[in-house]
């Protein structure tokens, strides 16, 4: 168990390092000069060269990378070209915002998906409805769904603000969008797992023991369904924490996704690197947490061969 944890942490670290290397060098493939982006109106070469010198953009790529890794090893993510702020303080200011949205989105999708999937496993008509629900919300693009929700609940019904920003009322629609787009996956897997579980031999044993339907669902099937759902929650939390770009943009939610997109457009390399590192760490960390939780609910996952 401890050995497995160490192996997983080691693999995770290697993955993060890989992401860092690839992203760093990809940034230089993107055409454009950050110095020119910083001073778009500067006509003379001297100003541009001055900026390049200050940002060490004129150093060889390998030297720049070495300097970056050296700073990173000391916990310093560098300073934003554009905003002059340190990258870590930028990320820290955005991370809670994104975390709230990610968490709210996961809560909505898990609740919606689990309820729909469970009802579908028990009732054929609900199952047909869930199939159509899944098709619709899997097919609809994020921006269409987001704008549609804004139109209906914001402009027509006036229930939520349409101007964007950070706040409980502003959270409703982006969380609902994430939830509606994620729910089909949960509904699908819960329906499959639940109907397997309800028609299983161990459910028959429980029935023969005199266990009520409700208790079978809550005490016998739930645990067996929980394992794949936990895996998906871990993947989603990691993914959403790395920034839900489209949803954050549509609803003007000031999170990491927005920061990442803006920084990419402005060629603000240190900030892009920062958001990528946060994303990679989040994805790997939450997958690991999900795996550990899976071992709690499913004893078979605890054995080495179940890994």
């Amino acid at each position: 168990m401890a050995r497995r944890l160490i192996v997983r942490l080691g693999l995770g670290l290697i993955a993060v390092l890989g992401v860092i290397v690839v992203t760093f060098f990809l940034e230089y493939v993107v055409p454009g000069d950050p110095a020119r982006a910083l001073a778009p109106r500067a006509r003379d070469r001297a100003t541009i060269e001055q900026i390049q010198k200050e940002l060490h953009l004129d150093d060889p790529l390998v030297v720049q990378f070495g300097a970056f890794v050296d700073r990173l090893a000391h916990g310093d993510l560098g300073t934003s070209y554009i905003r002059g702020e340190s990258v870590s303080s930028l990320l820290w200011s955005r991370l809670p915002t994104t975390a709230i949205l990610a968490f709210a989105g996961v809560v909505v999708e898990v609740l919606l998906g689990t309820v729909l999937g469970t009802l579908a496993a028990m009732n054929r008509r609900v199952s047909a409805f869930v199939t159509s629900f899944n098709l619709v919300f899997l097919a609809i693009p994020a921006f269409t769904l987001g704008l549609g929700l804004l139109l209906i609940f914001g402009f027509w019904m006036g229930l939520v603000p349409v101007t964007g920003g950070f706040g409980p009322r502003e959270l409703i629609l982006p969380a609902l969008s994430l939830g509606l787009m994620g729910a089909p996956w949960y509904a699908q897997i819960v329906r499959d797992q639940m109907s397997d579980s309800l028609s299983s031999a161990y459910t028959r044993t429980a029935v023969a023991k005199g266990v009520s339907d409700r208790r079978i669902l809550l005490r016998h099937s739930a645990r067996n369904v929980a394992s794949p759902v936990l895996t998906m929650i871990g993947m989603d939390l990691g993914l959403y924490l790395s920034g839900v770009v489209v949803v954050e943009t549509v609803f003007g939610w000031p999170g990491i996704g927005q920061l990442a997109v803006n920084s990419l457009q402005q060629l603000d390399r240190p900030v892009v690197m920062g958001t990528v590192i946060v994303g990679a760490v989040a994805v790997i960390a939450f997958n690991l947490v999900a795996d550990l939780l899976r071992m709690v609910v499913d004893p078979r996952a605890r054995t080495e061969e179940g890994a």
Binding site: T205, K209, G210, H220, R223, R300
Partner: protein, 323 residues
């Protein structure tokens, strides 16, 4: 009203209009093992599931089924729940699939005490350990804390038996519980069941197609074919002098298996058992029966019954023994 573990009369089971069990009469006394034998599709599982009311959703049995003197046909689900586990125990065939993989085996046994006797955590656990000790598990307290996949097949089946007998039910329905086990484990389980039925006084309805198991275990035997019970009697009666040609054929296949006769010399019953959708006129066995005549083709043989013996055949093999 009878004091028998099971008293089933005129039981019919239909799957969407297709008859799986036709007019079955079956009695299991307390402390008695009755083997229900027949090929796949003979209706033995349908009859057993009807008795335990474990038929698939939407399928119902008609007739009369009394468990420990209590009629269960027509009971509403909540009444049936109160009887399940408490008056009817069930032992499944594949203990790996029949135990919940995510919970400790002890918890699964303790649940029976919790839901039926409303006892607390500590007390239900103590009784669980007792239940495991009863099935001769050496370290019951330790085993109770294990998960199904951590146990051997034989141990898991012991756990199933402990669960089925936990509340000392009048009747235990055992669905081929030894089929998935190796021969020596099978022998241990059979021995255990033999001693438990005297200790607990439970009547056991043992479904099997293994005549070897029947010979070792059963007090009485009921042979099913095409949804009907074609012959019933004590184990000695049926083994020594089968009345129905089908029972005779089953026994011949067993004898050849025991003798280890080479493939071609082995006795085989010609033809296939009838499927559910096939309607066979007269006696269901007539297309495969060496003794069949025109009467068998047209006329369904009535059940000839005495206190200890029943047969449904126009040409019983030992005429003198026919009731």
């Amino acid at each position: 009203m009878s004091d028998a573990a099971l008293e089933a009369r005129n039981v019919y089971v239909r799957y969407g209009g297709l008859p799986a069990v036709v007019d079955a009469d079956l009695r299991v006394e307390r402390g008695e093992v009755v083997a229900l034998i027949g090929e796949t599709g003979s209706g033995k599982s349908s009859l057993a599931f009807a008795v335990a009311r474990l038929l698939p959703p939407g399928t119902y049995a008609t007739g009369s089924i009394e468990i420990g003197g209590r009629e269960i046909v027509g009971l509403v689900p909540s009444q049936m729940r109160a009887l399940r586990g408490a008056s009817i125990g069930y032992i499944a065939q594949d203990s790996m699939a029949a135990l919940n993989p995510t919970t400790r085996v002890g918890w699964q046994i303790a649940e029976a005490f919790r839901i039926h006797e409303n006892v607390g955590r500590r007390q239900s656990w103590a009784r669980t350990v007792d239940a495991l000790r009863r099935v001769r598990i050496a370290q019951p307290a330790e085993v109770a804390r294990l998960y199904p996949h951590q146990l051997s097949g034989g141990m898991r089946q012991r756990v199933m038996i402990a669960m089925a007998l936990a509340l000392l039910p009048a009747l235990v329905v055992a669905d081929e519980p030894t089929t998935a086990l190796d021969v020596s484990t099978q022998a241990e389980i059979l021995e255990l069941v033999m001693s438990l039925r005297t200790e607990t006084g439970a009547g056991i309805l043992w479904i099997t197609h293994d005549m070897g198991v029947v010979a070792e275990l059963a007090d009485r035997v009921a042979v099913m074919y095409g949804g009907r019970i074609v012959e019933q009697g004590t184990a000695e009666q049926v083994f020594d002098a089968p009345l129905h040609p089908y029972s005779d054929a089953l026994l011949k296949t067993l004898r050849d298996l025991r003798r280890g006769a080479p493939g071609s010399a082995m006795f085989q019953i010609e033809g296939q058992p009838p499927s559910l959708s096939q309607t066979i006129s007269g006696c269901a066995f007539h297309p495969r029966c060496p003794h069949a005549d025109e009467r068998c083709v047209v006329e369904d043989p009535p059940v000839e019954a005495s206190e200890t013996r029943r047969v449904a055949c126009h040409h019983p093999l030992v005429v003198a023994a026919v009731p």
